[in-house]
């Protein structure tokens, strides 16, 4: 076991966990922040996506020992950010969510995409969102909501 100081959504947090524990389980089990979802556990589905120092990151495969002093942003903190708010609003306006399980990961990936590519093309969206799976197949609404969010950001 080891003690780690984290910055999660701007708040200092301290956890005492095994160094090999994935960030996902630190968030869910230790900090009780269950917005970030467990999907596949092998970084193949994107449900566990959070931001590490602004980089969309699969929290299920990143041991807490490798997080370092990078700030962690989760779905619970995404509304603190103007791009995050625009994406959340677009998600509501387009009624994107069906079962919702993958959507926190989808939103975290979209925020990362729009921060680097404010006006994404369809190709940009397909490439960047290709690692986020949705078993309800809400992909068409996701694409529309991304474009709506991008338009709102201008």
């Amino acid at each position: 076991m080891a003690t780690y100081q984290l910055n999660v959504n701007g708040q200092p947090k301290q956890v005492n966990v095994d160094p090999s524990t994935p960030l996902l389980w630190v968030l869910r089990e230790e900090l009780k922040m269950t917005g970030t979802k467990y999907g596949c556990g092998i970084s193949a589905c994107g449900a566990c996506t959070v931001h590490l120092a602004g980089e969309a990151t699969r929290s299920c495969v990143v041991p807490i020992s490798l997080v370092g002093n990078r700030r962690v942003t989760t779905i619970e903190g995404v509304a603190q950010d103007p791009v995050g708010r625009a994406v959340q609003n677009a998600w509501v306006e387009n009624d994107v969510v069906q079962c919702g399980y993958c959507q926190s990961g989808q939103i975290m990936s979209v925020v990362a995409l729009l921060k680097e590519t404010p006006k994404p093309t369809d190709a940009n969206i397909e490439e960047s969102m290709g690692g986020n799976l949705c078993r309800c197949a809400t992909y068409v609404r996701i694409r529309e909501a991304i474009k709506r969010a991008a338009a709102q950001m201008t």
Binding site: P22, T49, E55, A56, L66, S109, V110, N124
Partner: protein
Amino acid sequence: MLANHRLLFPVFLLALLVFVTCIGLSASAGNESGGKVSDPKLADGLAAWEQVYSVLTSPRCINCHTATNYPQQGDDRHRHFANVIRGPADRGVPALNCAGCHQEQNADSTGVPGGPDWHLAPLSMRWQDTNDRPLSSALVCRAVTDRSRNENMDGPALLKHHQEAALVLWAWSPGRRPDGSMRTSPPLSHTEFVDATRRWVDAGTPCPRGR
């Protein structure tokens, strides 16, 4: 008898021509610069290159030296899962960057390899064709030694790259697979690889002939 001699003479000339041609071809075969393979240093350099080539085309190295828009993974060199693509800077695309999973070091508890600035080699340094088949020894050698394609590295710089570059060194500390087993390393030890590179560089970085 005289008629037989007349018949044999052209045959003899033809045989002599074939012999001389073969001698000439074998003397120049095996190196790009046209030197003699009978030159021990050159022969050793070419042999050393083949050792280097055996490492470069091992999965730990060649999986990220693709000619396609995606990396590979595993000893069977299958396409990287999760729809990962190369991206404009060889580091993936926004929201699906290499660094989104691959950290600065191996994550043995989750089976994800890692190293500093994890990324694909640029297309100029592709060592495969677009059907994911490794290029020949001669073609890889030409790519590696072409300073317009290799970030302007001369022989000593190539040696230093093989000695010190973080992602090169990673091949000999590739960490554990998700099932906990160790990833395979290249066929030579790092010391043997550097030694082979040094012999190849000392010989003037000769490349095999052909395609």
